[in-house]
């Protein structure tokens, strides 16, 4: 599939000293949602600023929609939508902010009106439309900031931590709406600190640290590769007092990180859970304890993130 974004060996430093983007390489396919994850100052926002033609890069390749960002700024800017990390709004009413966007992006008036009505409804902004932007809460402003981008058509949507300050329901609504738009061909480059939402929305994820890409893949690939610690939970009912040595008989000590024996549940944390499960169940059976529930917790993207960044 064609690349909507192609970044190769990209370098950006500030004042020739602080390297913000350090030989970064990644690509985003058309219609894909790609998440850039990283700690504060990892280079995510700088990468978005380069790709949206806001700042220049030092070396490497940065192509958007097949166009070099350093030479085709005007063409690229016509075809993208951007939600910056910082607040960005006009000092007027919510309604006017939408209208102005339609006018500035040359959306025909009738179409702009119908889009505005639809977005106001979808993003639950109807009650706020007469309010001035500075009277809104942080989350409400962010909602307007994301919603008004859909006033105009775009091939790629760049979102730099767009859900900060939003309540969980609205966050989910916005993510779902973005997902539906990608089905129509829109590509998304998304940065977030919220790993749960990256897990929910992103087709692929790139983790950056100190400007370098340190891991990349689908959420499940990353979890398999890096999310080594998993928890085995076994529910049971028995009058017999269970001891640790009963459970861990013939289990390699090195495979066990932590064990907790509760009144109705045993949990075992292991780096090699596949080696542990059958032996632990056999041991329980051997002492006459019947398990009524067996569950293995999947690793979260948080686990992956921590592990990759620590590495």
């Amino acid at each position: 599939m064609e690349d909507a974004i192609f970044v190769d060996d990209l370098v950006k430093s500030y004042d020739g000293r602080k390297i913000a983007v350090d030989h970064l390489t990644f690509n985003v396919k058309k219609g894909e949602i790609y998440g850039l994850l990283g700690r504060n100052g990892a280079g995510k926002s700088t990468t978005i600023k380069i790709l949206t033609t806001l700042i220049k890069y030092d070396s490497g390749i940065a192509n958007v929609l097949g166009l070099d960002v350093s030479r085709n700024g005007s063409e690229i800017r016509r075809r993208i939508g951007v939600v910056q990390q910082e607040e960005a709004f006009d000092f007027t009413t919510v309604d006017n902010n939408f209208k102005l966007y339609g006018m500035m992006w040359e959306v025909p008036r009738e179409e702009a009106n119908s889009r505005k009505e639809m977005l106001m409804e979808l993003f639950e902004l109807n009650e706020l439309k007469k309010k001035r932007m500075y009277d809104l809460s942080g989350g409400q402003k962010k909602r307007v900031q994301v919603a008004r981008e859909f006033m105009h058509d775009m091939d790629i949507f760049f979102l730099d931590e767009p859900t900060v300050g939003l309540d969980p329901i609205m966050r989910r609504n916005i993510l779902d709406y973005i997902k539906t738009q990608t089905k129509k061909g829109m590509t998304v480059l998304f940065t977030t600190q919220n790993l749960e939402e990256a897990d929910y929305i992103c087709d692929r994820i790139g983790i950056v640290n100190n400007g370098k890409k340190v891991a990349e893949g689908t959420s499940s690939n990353l979890k398999t590769k890096y999310g080594a610690l998993r928890t085995l939970k076994i529910g049971y009912s028995s009058d017999r007092k269970i001891e640790q040595k009963d459970i861990l008989k013939n289990v390699d000590d090195e495979d066990i990180i932590e064990i907790d024996i509760g009144e109705s549940e045993i949990s075992v944390v292991s780096g090699k859970i596949e080696n542990v499960v059958s032996q632990v169940l056999q041991n329980l059976s051997a002492i006459g304890v019947k398990s009524d529930k067996i569950m293995i917790d999947n690793p979260t993207l948080d686990d992956v993130f921590m592990k990759v960044i620590e590495k």
Binding site: T46, V82, Q84, D90, F91, M103, M104
Partner: protein, 259 residues
């Protein structure tokens, strides 16, 4: 029909700036100056105010062109200040990643300033005619008046663009603009004539104040007579505007819209 990018930004600037605060700043204060200050001083300056042509007019007649000149200053302040406001509230960055070029943004600011100044001047002229004052209407006087208002507005837009570009904090920006507002407004010939009794330092300050040049051109064009000194003021105004515009362009180019 496609509207050029800078005009779309101009329309945006008009919509964003039309609020009660701007209307008071642009029309309310000058109207108060014209009627309250005008009639109060007229009660004191009973002998009239001498013009450069040698004739004498009432204080309100003298003041009216000065108040019209103020519209250029105020509109320039509003326009140039938009860069500060847009940088502060993130819209500058957003516009820069939209379907616009940097020059479109600048043209949008200068155009809205000129529109505000011309409309404001026309309204003030209307109020002045109610006083009433008699105005000279010839093609030359109209052209020179428009020239003074447009060039003067571009000059003040450039000045406030420079301040917007250099200011690091809202406090610094506000302090500088307030000081400039009082200094340029009151140390000019907009409100008072320069006479032989004016202290030399104030005469120098007022004589080199661009607002004085605009007021002098408007006064000569509208209520006195156009002379060689009118064209001298116009020439100086144009040169100062071009210098300030050049500086503002350099500063504007160096503004990092990102980090």
């Amino acid at each position: 029909m496609r509207i050029p990018a800078f005009m779309r930004l101009t329309i945006r600037n008009i919509i964003v700036n039309i609020d009660i605060g701007t209307l008071i700043f642009m029309l309310g204060l000058p109207t108060l100056y014209l009627f309250v200050m005008g009639f109060m001083f007229q009660g004191i300056v009973t002998t009239g105010v001498p013009l450069s042509s040698g004739s004498t007019v009432s204080y309100t007649t003298f003041l009216a062109p000065g108040i019209i000149a103020l519209e250029s200053f105020t509109a320039g302040n509003i326009g140039g200040g938009m860069l500060w406001s847009d940088r502060r509230w993130g819209m500058f960055e957003r516009i820069m990643v939209g379907p616009f070029r940097r020059i479109d943004y600048l043209l949008g600011i200068i155009t809205v300033s000129i529109i505000f100044a011309l409309v404001g001047s026309l309204i003030m002229l209307g109020f002045a005619l109610l006083i009433p004052i008699s105005v000279v209407v010839t093609p030359e006087s109209i052209l020179l008046s428009i020239f003074a208002i447009v060039v003067g507005t571009m000059l003040f837009s450039s000045l406030f663009l420079i301040i917007s570009g250099l200011s690091k904090s809202m406090q610094a920006y506000n302090t500088i603009t307030i000081v400039l507002f009082f200094m340029l407004d009151f140390a000019s010939t907009a409100f008072y004539p320069i006479t032989k009794n004016t202290p030399l330092w104030l005469r120098t300050l007022s004589g080199s104040n661009p607002l004085s040049f605009i007021a002098n051109i408007l006064r000569d064009s509208l209520i006195s007579s156009i002379s060689s000194s009118t064209f001298f003021y116009a020439g100086i105004l144009l040169i100062v505007m071009l210098v300030l515009l050049g500086i503002s362009l350099r500063i504007y180019k160096s503004i990092r819209s990102g980090i």
